[in-house]
């Protein structure tokens, strides 16, 4: 795993910033095993974005730009990633764990004959004995794993590695000619983006999540003025998403998004282990719940027992005054 290829992701024509902590992971791993790393960018019309990736100390920034890559399909993309890894002499592939890489990377691993570590949170030790940590059982257990294959694939927890630092140098941009091998077995039909003026959950410094305690869409909407003032992202529990109050990609937890903002508000949610798995690394956690026994209080820095319908307007007011708005 001395030559690491990082997949940078694009979303709606832009580099997805939340995919870049994998660069930090690769730089750290390269340092610990005495290797080097490069970054790869796949897509259609993405060549112009390569310049955004050249300042992080990568040896090369590979661009695979062809119309076939306009939309993602697991089979053809895995073939392309492995073809590029071979061209580049890469012995490891890494990407931040999100729905794109969770779909893609295991296929890449199978094709390379590589062991894959999902949701890597830390690199332990160095040299030939390097090992990795990853959460299991909804984050209740931290496993240390070793990769037993000569090549390796890593899904990287974005919240456990910082955004990459500018190194001053400039990586060489290489246009790799890799064809989109369409096997006709799968076709893209459509994508319906979640339209929101708010920051992305994984990028926001403040996240305000609501749970079943807010009852319905009208109750959940009480989070909006607070989120507006704090430029916060809104999150939700599975219960709220299942009820159709929120789109699925606002679900925070074991099976949804993993976030670690500076400040996390948990409002009217109980703190089920599956939810806590997605937010317990937040810097400061505030819980508002009418049940003083709610498990969320055991992970909260500041707990306020009471009725969210009464507290939310008061809190919104207090923050408005504090901000001088």
């Amino acid at each position: 795993m001395k030559n690491i290829l990082v997949i940078a992701e694009t979303f709606q024509g832009k580099i997805r910033k939340t995919s870049l902590p994998a660069v930090t992971f690769a730089a750290e791993l390269a340092g610990k095993v005495g290797g080097e790393f490069s970054i790869a960018l796949f897509g259609s019309g993405v060549a112009g974005l390569a310049g955004e990736l050249t300042g992080f100390g990568a040896k090369n920034v590979y661009v695979v730009d062809a119309p076939g890559f306009a939309n993602y399909l697991g089979g053809p993309w895995a073939k392309a990633v492995v073809a590029l890894a071979q061209q580049a002499g890469a012995t490891a592939v890494a990407a931040v764990s999100d729905t794109f890489s969770r779909d893609l990377l295991p296929r890449v691993a199978a094709r390379m004959g590589a062991g894959m570590v999902s949701e890597t949170t830390a690199i332990v030790g160095d040299g030939a004995g390097v090992k990795f940590q990853r959460p299991m059982w909804a984050g209740n257990v931290l496993g240390t794993v070793e990769v037993r294959t000569p090549t390796a694939v890593f899904g990287v927890r974005g919240t456990d590695f910082d955004p990459p630092k500018a190194t001053g140098g400039a990586s060489a941009v290489q246009n790799a000619s890799i064809a989109f091998a369409d096997d006709g077995k799968a076709t893209y039909v459509k994508f319906e983006p979640t339209v929101s003026a708010r920051p992305d959950l994984a990028e926001a410094a403040v996240v305000i999540s609501g749970g079943r305690g807010l009852k319905d869409a009208a109750g959940f909407a009480l989070l909006n003025p607070l989120a507006d003032m704090l430029k916060a992202a809104i999150g939700a529990t599975r219960a709220v998403v299942d009820a159709g109050i929120c789109p699925n990609d606002l679900q925070v937890g074991q099976t949804g998004r993993v976030v670690a903002p500076q400040l996390y508000f948990a409002v009217g949610l109980s703190g089920a282990i599956q939810h806590v798995a997605g937010m317990k690394n937040s810097k400061v956690i505030v819980a508002i719940n009418k049940d003083e026994e709610a498990p969320i209080f055991s992970v909260a820095d500041y707990g306020l027992v009471g009725d969210a319908f009464k507290i939310l307007p008061e809190l919104t007011d207090a923050i408005r005054k504090h901000k001088g708005l």
Partner: protein
């Protein structure tokens, strides 16, 4: 349509898991085991397809001797027969599970292979995708809606940032997300019926699968605990703490 579907045995998803003092695994005393919730969604989807258009549903579990109990739950939900590959979790990684399932796929030749998108113990989210690549099949992962028309499957996938729809030709691999359906609770008559449904026992030796692991978990520990917080009584007190103590606002 013939459907192969997974039925993994996992620790109770709501149990508080503790690590053994010597770091060799988790404390299993008093733990209950359940069918992996995502597999329940996969089984429900398989049974619904069968109810609509006939065919056979074959459920498979890989696990220790007790895993047959969870396989029986799949049979009680409506699967026609079961396959139990005897191999404890401790001797398995995602890749080995996938290579076993590849063998079963080759044996059973289903039109559709439905799996849970992840198991709530290992949380790896790899097996369906590995199987798809090993068999060079199309995949539709994190499915929250599934429609069959002829030899094509239209699947809605829950992604970060929105909902995607793709179409895959059969045979295909689909991994189920929680919103795909609401798994049925087996009725008592169906639980009794499930006891008489055939279950084939297999070993990896018999299947000719290499037991080598690609990734081995060599130690388990409890994650660092968050230090306990405090309760505040009023919004004013909360504001004071957030502004002056945490400097978070």
């Amino acid at each position: 349509m013939k459907i192969l579907v997974t039925a993994k045995r996992v620790t109770d998803p709501d149990a508080k898991i503790r690590v053994k003092a010597d770091g060799t695994g988790i404390e299993t005393a008093g733990l209950e085991y359940k069918l992996n919730p995502f597999c329940e969604n996969a089984i429900e989807a398989a049974v619904q397809l069968q109810e609509k258009q006939g065919g056979e549903v074959v459920a498979v579990t890989i696990g220790d001797d007790d895993a047959v109990q969870n396989l029986r739950t799949a049979l009680a939900m409506g699967a026609d027969r079961g396959i139990h590959v005897k191999l404890p979790d401790a001797q398995m990684d995602s890749d080995l599970a996938a290579r076993i399932l590849v063998k079963l796929f080759e044996q059973e030749k289903p039109d559709l292979f439905l799996l849970g998108k992840q198991a709530v113990d290992g949380d790896s989210n790899q097996v369906g995708q590995l199987v798809a690549e090993y068999l060079d099949l199309p995949q539709a992962c994190f499915a929250s809606k599934l429609e069959v028309a002829g030899d094509k499957l239209t699947v809605d996938r829950e992604l970060d940032g929105g909902m995607e729809t793709i179409q895959v030709g059969l045979p295909a691999v689909v991994t189920a997300d929680l919103r795909l359906n609401t798994p049925r609770l087996p009725t008592l008559p169906n639980v009794l019926k499930a006891k008489r449904k055939p279950v084939q026992e297999l070993t990896i030796d018999a299947l000719g699968v290499d037991p080598a692991l690609t990734v081995a978990t060599i130690a388990y520990e409890a994650p660092p605990a968050r230090k306990g917080g405090i309760k505040v009584k009023t919004v004013e007190e909360l504001m004071d703490k957030l502004v002056n103590e945490a400097k978070a606002l």
